[in-house]
Amino acid sequence: MTDLLYSEIENELRGEVRGMLADRAPWKQVLENAQEGRTPYDTDLWRVLAIEMGLAGLIVPESLGGSGASLREAAVVCEELGRFVAPVPFLGSAVVATATLLAAAGDDPAGPGAELLTALAAGDRTAALVVPFSTLPFSTPPAATASGSAGAGPYPVFSAVGGALTGSARNVVDAIGADVLLVPAADGLYAVPADGAGVTRDPVVSLDITRPITDITFDGAAGTLLAAGARGAEAIRAGVGAGAALLASEQLGIAEACLEQTVAYLKERYQFGRPIGSFQGLKHRAADLWVSITQARAAARHAAVCVATGDPDADAATAVAQAHGSLVAVRAAEENVQMHGGIGFTWENPAHLYLKRAKATAIGFGTPDRHLLALSELFHLPAAG
């Protein structure tokens, strides 16, 4: 049985991150940053988190300038970032891209991946893996298998001719501010400077106003091969897998924050001469949410530990955590709007920031429906027909 509790180190890390976010990322600031026409990132906040607190290199080995922690600890950071809907590229750069690079670099401390990891760990640069945010984190995606859809693979693969990359991908997360793009190509995984020739990044109007997504097109952009052939694909699988597992922890943080906001409002809001939290119709729903969240916490912990340790249960654990986490985060966010009544439906209340984040994470790295299908295939429970 995996250890589903938080270690003392994790609790300390959580406390530091939470304190910093409470100080530097109150929701009014987050909302202000997310006004239309702007990139929502808070670069000052990211500098503090990435460099001063060392979170950019949290999962990077100490030999490369990182903290040498694991995805387990990074999951705790994701919880807190979710709790604050913090507009920083931790998931895209410090989890997905970094985990991809770690898997690609292997044990070679002198390869190009190692150099890039060192830069990422230092917080000097950020990177993004150029796959759609909706990519399902399994090597043979059931989606493609089941539907026989055109793309066939789980994500678009770029063509590479003599190191010149051509192709496009939609809805890439945390890429708008990235310095380096990690690109799946037919013959392996490449690194491409984001400001290089032949690279076009089109910002997308994102449902989640606190997390930007980008459409990316390469027209013969020059790239450096990081991992050839299957090793590149394996690295991408590791990166997306890490992102998917840890997205469940982010969802846990979203759900917890929503329930806390709901409960606070239920206590302070009076109607009919009573706090509305004294009405059973509302309190029973809050109780049900709390129960779902205790389950989401156990599932997210299990997934984080499994990807951190390479446990053979990692795929199942991730699918379980992401499917359940999506349902719980969305429900908590929707209930938060509903139980706030009219005020929860306004722009000037934080509830919508969480609603948009929650719904986007339900699509991120596979919808619950896709995860259920994956689980049914993993456990030999075939669909009808």
Binding site: E36, F272, G342, A360
Partner: protein, 399 residues
């Protein structure tokens, strides 16, 4: 109101319409003039009394009237911005207004020459509307009003608002209210856009600062505002969710279309979710059909609250499922620019907007929680919660 004149049946009405159209050629008559004449002929809302735009005819003949005028390409109004006037202000003025008020307000309300809005909800009084705090204090032969209202659609364009105020804070809350017609152009009425989570500002906040309202604009007796407001609210609930929809009409049709058009999006769970929603949309549709038949037969049941409740739940679940169904496309929004739409649009724009807009369905016009209370207590006769707020003076209530 006198009982419906028995002599009006469908054929008699048809004759009247024909005569009216002969006298007022739709093709050549000025639209405003046409509409005023139609009102004066009693062919506006035919179940209203003579002199108030109607003939005292049976209500269920109205649909035929509207069809006949539409078939003749007669001038008509854009209904959207008139919904509050037609659906809520008019029946309230009809039931509680005196003759002068009916004469002054009903015709331009119906013709669309004057727009109406509703000044009911407040930041501190949502579900508990009777707990509202906007104060009206006597000042000679008029009143001075101070307070803040929210969720006011059309307010930025409206000529009048139906307004509930507190005139006596020293009695229990339901007894200290008074109902007014507020001139939205009066000094001290400040309308500000209220932005929703969709990015749009469909609604407004209305700040009332020392607004003077003449006593002649009072509807009903001083202290009787709650009874008047209930007329308004009763008509609000009937007006929402009662529209006829074809099978796979509305939000479910957008979901099924996406399913049919894009095989690559299909999963077993997606199929089940869609079919269960399809089933619920179909049974909801049949229930509304039955409700409409009951109403036509003059036996409207309490199913109106149910229809609103079901519409909200279904629209929310369907738009939520539709957003996830399109996966990557669901990550994208169409436009966050703050617009000022005149009416709610539940089916327009992209799946993200529809999903977000649907969150309001279970809040606006009576929350789903309040509707469940209404059904449980008024339909099923279940006992009320122990009340702490009906016997103490309003000013002493915790809030």
């Amino acid at each position: 109101m006198p009982p419906p004149a028995p002599e009006y049946d469908a054929s008699r009405i048809a004759v009247l319409i024909k005569e009216f159209l002969t006298a007022h050629d739709p093709a050549t008559t000025d639209p405003g003039e046409f509409l005023r004449a139609r009102f004066d002929a009693g062919l506006a809302w035919i179940h209203y009394p003579v002199g108030a735009g109607g003939l005292g005819a049976p209500r269920d003949l109205q649909a035929e009237v509207d069809r006949a005028f539409a078939a003749a390409s007669a001038p008509d109004r854009v209904i959207g911005p008139l919904v509050i006037g037609l659906g809520m202000a008019a029946p309230t003025i009809l039931e509680h207004g005196h003759a002068d008020q009916r004469a002054r307000y009903l015709r331009p309300l119906w013709t669309g020459e004057e727009l109406w809005c509703q000044l009911f909800s407040e930041p501190g009084a949502g579900s508990d509307l009777a707990g509202l705090a906007t104060r009206a204090v006597r000042d000679g032969d008029g009143w001075i009003v101070n307070g803040q209202k929210v969720w006011t659609s059309v307010a930025h364009r409206a000529d009048f608002g139906i307004l509930v105020t507190r005139t006596d804070p020293d009695v229990p809350k339901h007894r200290g209210l008074t109902y007014f017609i507020c001139d939205m152009k009066a000094p001290g009425v400040d309308v500000r856009p209220l932005r929703q989570l969709t990015g749009q500002a469909e609604f407004n906040e209305v700040f009332l600062t020392d607004v003077h309202i003449p006593d002649s604009a009072r509807l009903g007796a001083v202290g009787d505002g709650w009874r008047v407001a209930r007329t308004t609210l009763m008509n609000e609930r009937v007006s929402i969710g009662g529209g006829a929809i074809p099978r796979e009409g509305g939000a479910i049709g957008l979901l099924t279309t996406a399913w049919r058009d894009r095989p690559e999006l299909r999963t077993p769970a997606g199929h089940t979710t869609m079919m269960r929603l399809w089933l619920r949309a179909e049974t909801a549709r049949l229930a509304v059909d039955r409700l409409r038949q009951q109403m036509a037969a003059g036996a409207a049941g309490p199913e109106g609250s149910a229809a609103k409740l079901v519409f909200a739940e279904l629209n929310q679940e369907i738009t939520g499922a539709a957003l996830e169904l399109v996966e990557g496309d669901g990550l994208r929004y169409d436009d966050w620019t703050m617009g000022r739409p005149g009416t709610a649009d539940f089916l327009g724009r992209g799946p993200g907007y529809r999903y977000l807009r649907a969150r309001g369905n279970s809040i606006e016009g009576g929350t789903s929680e309040i509707l469940r209370n209404i059904i449980a207590e008024r339909v099923l006769g279940l006992p009320a919660e122990p009340r702490v707020d009906t016997t103490v003076p309003w000013k002493d209530l915790p809030r």
